[in-house]
């Protein structure tokens, strides 16, 4: 009951919303939050491959930013393997697609 007097409570308790209408509003606002893939240019790819090989050869921990439709996804760790044929790389035993890379940097010790 008390909620009616707090925040947006008065309007949340008195509104008339069809569940289908609510779902449509939420689907739209979620579509706005969807991220689009960033295309890397040549120089950026060069920077990424330098960082990745640094990690692979000298066991340096790095952070790799990967594409994800809704979340901010960063993989942090040491690159164990790079499989260029299948377009993937392995960090701590898990494979990730190379095509999803949006950036990479050495982790500060």
């Amino acid at each position: 009951m008390r909620k009616k007097l707090e925040g947006n409570g008065l309007w949340e308790s008195s509104r008339m919303m069809l569940p289908e209408h609510k779902a449509a509003i939420n689907a739209y606002s979620e579509s706005l939050r969807r991220r689009v893939r960033i295309e890397l240019d040549e120089q950026e790819w060069e920077q990424v491959s330098r960082v990745v090989s640094e990690s692979l050869l000298r066991r340096q921990p790095i952070s790799v930013r990967l594409f994800h439709p809704v979340e901010l996804l960063t993989v942090i760790g040491i690159v164990d393997r790079v499989d260029e044929l299948k377009g993937r790389f392995m960090v701590d035993g898990e494979w990730f697609p190379i095509g999803d890379i949006e950036g990479a940097a050495l982790e500060a010790e």
């Binding site: 009951m1 008390r2 009616k4 007097l5 925040g7 947006n8 409570g9 008065l10 309007w11 949340e12 008195s14 509104r15 008339m16 919303m17 069809l18 569940p19 289908e20 209408h21 609510k22 449509a24 509003i25 939420n26 739209y28 606002s29």
Partner: protein, 421 residues
């Protein structure tokens, strides 16, 4: 000090009827109503266009009564999915002026334009601009109540903008004494006929009288009239009367997790036997559980409501019970729902049945139960049927009882909010 907010409540005139008129240019200038199906007892006026209203047609009256007043009436079946689409289209237009837009119902939306006004001049100029654009793009006439908060915007719209020629009205804080407090109390937001009677019995005839009553005195008055738990409502009405409201326009308001998920339906005819009522009870339980599963919830409390068919002798019940464990498996919830029905139903014919679940827990973790050794299997079965329904429609797989005379699943799948899609 922070700048005063500028809030608008934009309301679409006779929304469903206006959408139909825009979709059917051939009906321009003729009286039109959107009405449900008389044979399935939803034959009431959902919306009447202004021309039909001139004939005396009023919303929510029976179709027959309207036809008596206006024999040339054009009757259109509702298309709920279309109305939702148009409502979203209008939302997108509002969103091009401010990102703070909150839908209050299918035809009413709040806009906080405080931060946009420097681009458009006065609030009234901006309202007129949006009003014109919506008229051009959708054919719908919108009215704008403007105020420093949502309460005043809403009351400005209901009491003035809907009645003046421009469809735009600003109720500023310094105009309350002359423009709000002089109105009869029935014109106040949230005050229906029942509350009007109560307030009148307390000697409060105008909104101003209520606003001027000290809060403590109003609490005492309402406690005496409406019981001990009236303090919060007293404060609520007192704030409304004084035009006090600090609630923000909240665009993400519909994303908050629901506290209860329920379905209710009016039956096409009165159901008299337990067997028949159980059929719709199962169908409603299925829908409720399906919605819970799609959100990843399990409910712990189930409630069942039945309303008697005879309006002159109101009967029926609304009872709830806590289940042993939270669940979203239809058959398990149904077992409790039937228990409630058997315990509380008085045997009289029923016209309305509802089921709801509340007290949610996430469904990715659950208690192992001695009595439900097959919980995993049940959940897998429900997941599979849900997937089939998502892909091929709600009627692609139904329970056998839905094929009996009492079954409503098929009809319900074609509806939104009790009216045809």
């Amino acid at each position: 000090m922070a700048r005063d907010r500028v809030i608008m409540l934009a309301d679409c005139q006779s929304f469903y009827a206006s959408v139909e008129k825009a979709e059917h240019p051939e009906y321009a200038g003729r009286p039109l109503v959107v009405a449900g199906d008389p044979e399935r007892r939803s034959g009431i006026i959902l919306a009447a266009c202004p021309i039909a209203k001139e004939y005396g047609v009023i919303t929510a009256e029976r179709l027959g009564d309207s036809l008596a007043k206006c024999p040339d009436l054009i009757i259109v079946q509702p298309r709920m999915a279309l109305y939702i689409d148009i409502s979203l289209m209008i939302t997108h237009i509002y969103q091009s002026y401010t990102d703070l837009v909150e839908s209050y119902s299918v035809d009413e939306q709040f806009l906080d334009v405080t931060g946009s006004l420097h681009l458009y001049g006065s609030a009234e100029e901006l309202a007129a601009l949006i009003q014109k654009r919506i008229q051009e793009e959708t054919g719908i006439y919108t009215r704008f109540g403007i105020g420093p908060n949502k309460i005043l915007a809403k009351m400005a719209c209901d009491n003035y903008a809907k009645k003046n020629d421009s469809g735009i009205y600003t109720l500023a804080s310094d105009k309350l004494a002359t423009k709000l407090w002089t109105l009869p109390i029935a014109k106040m937001f949230m005050t229906g006929s029942r509350m009007t009677r109560h307030f009148n019995a307390m000697g409060l005839e105008t909104i101003g009288q209520l606003a001027a009553t000290p809060l403590e005195k109003l609490k005492t008055l309402m406690r005496r009239k409406l019981g001990r738990n009236s303090d919060i409502n007293a404060e609520l009405y007192w704030r409304i009367a004084n035009g006090l409201d600090d609630s923000p326009v909240t665009p993400g308001t519909h994303e908050t997790a629901p506290t209860t998920i329920g379905h209710m339906m009016t039956l096409p005819r009165d159901y008299e036997s337990l067997e028949e009522i159980k059929v719709v009870l199962l169908e409603l339980t299925e829908l409720v559980c399906q919605r819970c599963r799609s959100k990843g919830y399990m409910g712990h409390v189930v409630s069942v409501a039945c309303m008697g068919a005879d309006y002159s002798k109101p009967s029926g019940f609304s009872r709830q019970m806590k289940m042993d464990d939270p669940t979203s498996v239809t058959n398990q919830v149904y077992r409790y729902a039937v228990q409630l029905l058997k315990r509380h139903w008085d045997g009289l014919p029923v016209r309305k049945v509802g089921v709801s679940l509340s007290q949610f827990a996430a469904d990715d973790e659950y208690q192992l139960s001695l009595f439900e050794p097959n919980q995993e299997k049940w959940m897998a079965l429900e997941k599979a049927t849900d997937a089939i329904k998502r892909k091929y429609g709600d009627t692609s797989i139904v329970r056998a009882v839905s094929a009996t005379k009492a079954g409503q699943a098929e009809d319900r799948a074609r509806k939104i909010g009790g009216h045809y899609k």
